[in-house]
Assembly symmetry: D2
Homo-oligomer: 277 residues x 4
Amino acid sequence: MSELYLDGKKIYYEIHGQAGEVLILLNGIMMTTNSWTNFIPALSRNNRLVLVDFFDQGRSERLGPGYDHQIQIQLLGALFRQLEAEMGVGRFVLAGLSYGGNVALQAALAFPERVKRLILANSAARTSSWLRNVGDGWNEVAKSGNGRSYYLTAIPVIYSTHFFEAQAAWMEQREETLVAYFSQKEVLERMIRLTDSSRHYNVEDRLGEIQCPTLILSSSEDALVPVTEQELLHKGIKNSSHVVIRGSGHASMYEFPEAFAGLIAGFAGLGDEEIHP
Amino acid sequence: MSELYLDGKKIYYEIHGQAGEVLILLNGIMMTTNSWTNFIPALSRNNRLVLVDFFDQGRSERLGPGYDHQIQIQLLGALFRQLEAEMGVGRFVLAGLSYGGNVALQAALAFPERVKRLILANSAARTSSWLRNVGDGWNEVAKSGNGRSYYLTAIPVIYSTHFFEAQAAWMEQREETLVAYFSQKEVLERMIRLTDSSRHYNVEDRLGEIQCPTLILSSSEDALVPVTEQELLHKGIKNSSHVVIRGSGHASMYEFPEAFAGLIAGFAGLGDEEIHP
Amino acid sequence: MSELYLDGKKIYYEIHGQAGEVLILLNGIMMTTNSWTNFIPALSRNNRLVLVDFFDQGRSERLGPGYDHQIQIQLLGALFRQLEAEMGVGRFVLAGLSYGGNVALQAALAFPERVKRLILANSAARTSSWLRNVGDGWNEVAKSGNGRSYYLTAIPVIYSTHFFEAQAAWMEQREETLVAYFSQKEVLERMIRLTDSSRHYNVEDRLGEIQCPTLILSSSEDALVPVTEQELLHKGIKNSSHVVIRGSGHASMYEFPEAFAGLIAGFAGLGDEEIHP
Amino acid sequence: MSELYLDGKKIYYEIHGQAGEVLILLNGIMMTTNSWTNFIPALSRNNRLVLVDFFDQGRSERLGPGYDHQIQIQLLGALFRQLEAEMGVGRFVLAGLSYGGNVALQAALAFPERVKRLILANSAARTSSWLRNVGDGWNEVAKSGNGRSYYLTAIPVIYSTHFFEAQAAWMEQREETLVAYFSQKEVLERMIRLTDSSRHYNVEDRLGEIQCPTLILSSSEDALVPVTEQELLHKGIKNSSHVVIRGSGHASMYEFPEAFAGLIAGFAGLGDEEIHP
């Protein structure tokens, strides 16, 4: 429940846990620090967990249109400095889901000395022209202001068919909540800006620069950022492992919370330990 | 370039080729007989190829709202009788892509004595609640009447990321054509009706009835009808093989036309030949 | 039931069928022309099927030790000339399983003008050091002269677990036949020579030379030449499609005979037809 | 470096680490407690790690022929009692690789109150008839007493092609060590007994009894216990997640040590924490 400021813009963050590696966990595009509430005990048990809202998310500052990932990377730079001052630790485990993973990867390129380990869940090295078109479709619908239409266009696609059916009651609850949420003009405007901020993202040519141990986490049923995209990450990042949660859709942390949390807590917890068989 | 009538409703069909098995090829939801033009030589070389427009497609009759697959199955029943009268052949190879495969499967259940072999490409045994929501999203957008919005919502998702990027010029041409097409109110109304006709489709419990040799064709990158759905078909249909086109999206016939055509022509061409190793 | 001679060495071949593309089908390492008996009707229905024994296989000449794939490629060169003289056709569809696919690929490099289409089933661009070790293991066991030991070492691994269990009676019959077969010293000596002939096979760097339409056929459960090897073929050969038979082991033609035969007959039957969607 | 006795038979075990969940890690068939040396720091950082040699492994008692998994399950029962007395903890995280996973699964069925979490790496619910034949092949070769032959038959198959090539120097070192090891009659006799002890293993029908959170870990290139076997585990065990290490062979802990260690340490570390998204 803390905040810091970058050029006058508020950055909301939280620290949980007492000891262990400092694990910074970055939100997907439609998430906030609140989305992780049920994960806090598991992720702060053997690590110190830092949650943060990106600009235009949750309790962090709203921005005007026209920004790209760069501003979120700067947000992380400011957070790193703040955590060092506050916790006395200068190197972090950086984990991100989807949008959060894409920003994490770029932060590891911008501040390599800050990143001890990197965890990229359901992320990619670039916004493919395919994904750009999908995002354009979401934004077109967002402009219509129809919250239910936006829900139907952007949400089911992030779940696997199996989860969607097996968790029908949970999904219905979620539909109700999200249709109400997306029916707010201000929310859809933020969704448009955040989606647009990914438009020109591409670090394919820079993957070879990543030196830190990296875990790439995919979902076999991810219809939005398919396994083939994570395969590019694995090929490009030398010191990486690639793990696929079988049967999961894009929202891996909701579909298989224990595999997700176990993977992240465990890989983070390795810290500076290198293993040579 | 022929037509027949079912209860006064026009059914448009074409016959190509001189000899061999009679292969009836059924369209996906947004396709027409015209979509197959470039496939005709390959598919009518060793087989006799029959193309047909479903109701609300191409040159067949437009319907009012509220129908389901049943009317399309009846269309096939009428086509079978017509082909028997015209060609002297009473058993057919039935192949369908997506919507067409779903109708083909039900026709094989309704008229088992008519179906010699069955080919289900990018099809499923049911409309999952997930896919129903995706379709509802398309229809919400269709109701807005925005052709470009409909294109962005419904079309990129049927291609693989790789194809979309590698065939950028072809996709741009396609976008131009389809945005114009979907900007016609009458077209979007048909899309809504056809999509809605799949709403309650489910023959999961009847797969065990299928006796004829069946080829199930999937695409590894199919984001709309994922391989897991075809796996259900394979498990349910005793005498079936399951083949996956690697790297392809839902529109397998556009992404890998030779693999698609070779598979269909070849499996059709086996006719009554059974192979025991 | 014909033969021709290359430098005095007998080459046994058979021609089946009356019309259509000339499809030359090449054996896997432990197969002979007899292995295809039950496939002849299906594969010669719309194509003319040519079967042939490699040197050290079936009714072709036995060789001394120390040869590599080169002699089998020359065998194909001689066969091409013979077929041209006999059938008046100079361009062929070349299909091969495993060892046969590896030789087919090299023949397409050596005689590009002879190869109209190429079908590589359960094949690879090279003998990896891993596969070389596996082959060395087989040969060590072969040297012990224990037919049952050789069977257990080399045969189960080419089937999927599912097939092995589901076709238990067929497998038991096969075990009986093959243990007797492998108990002949002369047979094991040929197995050793054929296996050794693949030792230095590697055309990875030459895949870009292949111009003809190519179908790459994998099996999802192939423990001997895994799908990753066929993925290398697909990446290297421009004009290729990659199709995976789901649930099949290395011996795809026995596990899913109809999918196998349909794919080969159909892709062969496309002939010079090119399809542009 | 401790030992305990079951009916006079020595059981060797080690405890590492100061605090956290008690994680018992069980060896694969050809491993010993020594195989984990380089994993100890990572696995005992946030957990207390217990290593143990099964009977006929490492420093535990040698057995006569004719035993099955039951004796190893009893070994675990004795270990549980000993650890409770020694550490004051009565519920454990049980993790096992291959053979070790199979025994772990059965121990969770025999002593459900003892098992807090279960991790099954490259394991199965049964010894399929296919795997039984593969094991019979190994044993036939073992009986010949040829260490190099046994190495070539049993070892390369447990690595992926990629690892085998990329880690050629490591593999050569390993070949030297293992050929010497397998050239000892006593070692091969133990291998035969351990392999035979799996012959009748099958708990497919009892998977529904497992209540504790379970992580199933597969390798995409596992040629010995393919992903399809782990899929059976996942379908049978209600409260399970299924994670695949992409590109890895059967020996996942050697091929991707950090993913392996991270997964196990992290999932173990969740302890009694349940996560509901």
